[in-house]
């Protein structure tokens, strides 16, 4: 490797001088066009900071609101409070070790955080995953999707003021994670997928819990959803809130339920199928209104479809090994691989570059929540402060993924 030239750290275009801001000097030096536009306060406007410590932002997120009375005029999210430098860490880790470190990115749906990189590595190594392992991946992935959507339901209701649905949905989530804990050994950060398969076959406890749950799941989930679907106050608040039209959704690179609720039937499981999804029968729920209520109802429809998929997986699962035979020290040949999965929040993808050594040269993780936070700034203006949280909750961001 040739000696790279260091960029000059005194280059004025690369640094900004920051004066120490006390509480009486609120506005920082605005540097970019958008910042100047934001911090240019007109008469009657006020900056309100919903700080990183807040009972209701979905993780550590700081949002600077520009309000005029009770109405929000503009919004500037400030990220980075949970930035862990995962991509840099990945450049210093083995291919096998990385999987456990990528779990806490989107911790609510951590199996999808593992699935996408694992698929990229399998492409780099030209590894064929056994069919049973693929079915297990789909099965556990769909269970994780249901658990994640249950969390969304609870959190959304909590942000609107209802304190009961979150406890009901967590009771559901509890059952699902107990199931997954029986095979993976963990309840939140599963660390289950491996390059070439999964870590261990399904066992008796998992199957008995799953069978038990599946017999009641439909009715139980409908009861939990019914708490909100038929609640007049909830529906009145969610309907017509934060309408995202089709063109804007595509331009803003929205993915997942947020995109499908705006009328674009794009689901990676059908658009660019991976794993064994081509063999499974399920529908892609789509709605056209694009408001918060549509996003909520769409996620509930997805839960029902996931139940269908789990049922089919259980019936169609073949026997066989669950892990391909791979050496411990992996040295793929130099190349690049990209793979995307449909996570509960949208497209979760991983771009891996290998240079022939046993550590990846570059691992780029693309998280959907990152782009959905841009949507908040677009959908908020004109609404009230109370709706900030409602809109953000309906877009379902998870700050672990946003901040990497």
């Amino acid at each position: 490797m040739t000696t790279p030239t260091r960029p000059s750290l005194d280059d004025p275009s690369l640094t900004i001088p920051v004066e120490h801001a006390g509480i009486f000097e609120p506005i920082p030096l605005a540097r970019t066009e958008r910042q100047r536009e934001f911090y240019d306060l007109r008469d009657g406007e006020m900056l309100l900071n919903m700080g990183p410590q807040h009972p209701s932002t979905h993780g550590v997120l700081r949002v600077v609101l520009k309000i005029s009375g009770e109405q929000v005029v503009d919004l500037d999210p400030v990220l980075g409070y949970l930035h862990r430098g995962v991509e840099k860490i990945a450049e210093n880790s083995d291919f096998h070790h990385i999987i456990s470190q990528l779990d806490p990115l989107e911790y609510v749906a951590s199996l999808f955080c593992e699935w996408s990189p694992v698929m990229s590595f399998e492409k780099l190594l030209d590894v064929q995953v056994p069919r049973r392992a693929e079915y297990i991946r789909v099965l556990t992935g769909e269970l994780n999707r249901i658990a994640s959507h249950m969390l969304f339901l609870g959190w959304y209701a909590l942000d609107l003021g209802g304190i009961t649905p979150i406890l009901w949905s967590f009771a559901e989530r509890d059952e699902i994670v107990e199931m997954l804990a029986a095979i993976t050994g963990a309840k939140l950060l599963f660390n289950y997928f491996r390059i070439g398969g999964v870590n261990g076959d399904l066992n008796h406890e998992f199957m008995s819990r799953l069978g038990d749950w599946m017999s009641r799941a439909g009715a139980q989930l409908e009861a939990g959803m019914g708490l909100l679907n038929e609640n007049e106050i909830f529906v009145r608040r969610a309907r017509g809130l934060g309408v995202l039209d089709r063109e804007t959704a595509l331009r803003m690179c929205a993915t997942g339920p947020n995109l499908r609720a705006s009328g674009v039937p794009f689901d990676i499981r059908r658009a660019h199928p991976y794993s064994v999804y081509p063999e499974l029968e399920f529908e892609i729920p789509t709605r056209r209104e694009g408001d918060s209520l549509a996003r909520y109802l769409l996620r509930m429809d997805e839960v029902r479809q996931s139940l269908r998929i789990i049922d089919q997986c259980l019936h169609q699962m073949p026997d066989g090994p669950v892990m391909a035979r791979l050496p411990r020290l992996l040295r793929p040949r130099p190349g690049r691989a990209y793979s995307a999965v449909e996570g509960p929040r949208g497209q979760y993808s991983c771009y891996a570059i290998s240079d022939g050594t046993d550590q990846p040269f570059r691992l780029r993780i693309h998280d959907p929540s990152f782009l959905h936070l841009q949507l908040v700034g677009l959908l908020m203006p004109g609404n009230l402060i109370a709706d900030t949280m409602a809109i953000m909750a309906s877009l379902d961001p998870v700050m672990g993924g946003v901040d990497k």
Partner: protein
């Protein structure tokens, strides 16, 4: 691996490609010059035979010698992912045109690439750091970024002073001597 698609790309972009169109598994990769990014993207987006309306990812890469910006796109026309690599961005002038005129959602992805690599996207209205604090002076994902040298110089990040082995210059005698009673 869509062979017909590869032919289509080579026909449409002929001169703009700086290397062969490679295909592996379910991806098609094309390389272009950084300056050509806007018109290539516009062609990919608007051309009715291509219709790449979906931007999957925008990543920066440091190859050790220079930078790349890698875009991943999807279209209904082909089952493959299209990877567009804008290669050969010099380290001392890391500038590349922005694609926020087509996809506004790329704004934050370009901010992240700036934050991590120092890539300056011309035309991005909001090019400032997104993850790291504003006072941070270095770019972490570059290959020549070494902890603790760079990061420790900025108050926002890096190692904590306690891990710094050398004693501070203005330490009191007692701190240096570490004895119970002051001299």
């Amino acid at each position: 691996m869509d062979r017909a698609f590869r032919a289509l790309i080579e026909r449409t972009f002929g001169d703009d490609l700086t290397g062969p169109v490679r295909q592996r598994h379910d991806e098609t990769e094309m390389r272009i010059r950084p300056g050509d990014v806007p018109q290539v993207m516009r062609t990919l987006h608007d051309d009715p035979r291509l219709r790449f309306e979906y931007l999957g990812d925008l990543a920066g890469v440091d190859t050790g010698t220079d930078f790349q910006v890698v875009y991943h796109l999807w279209s209904v026309v082909t089952p493959d992912w299209l990877r567009v690599v804008a290669d050969g961005i010099p380290r001392d002038q890391p500038r590349i045109p922005s694609i926020t005129f087509l996809w506004k959602g790329a704004e934050w992805m370009e901010r992240e690439a700036y934050d991590m690599f120092g890539l300056v996207f011309e035309g991005n209205r909001d090019l400032r750091r997104i993850y790291l604090p504003d006072e941070f002076v270095s770019f972490p994902l570059r290959k020549d970024f070494h902890l603790p040298d760079d990061a420790s110089r900025s108050p926002g990040g890096g190692v904590r002073p306690m891990e710094d082995a050398a004693t501070p210059a203005d330490a009191a005698e007692t701190t240096v001597r570490r004895t119970a009673k002051a001299r």
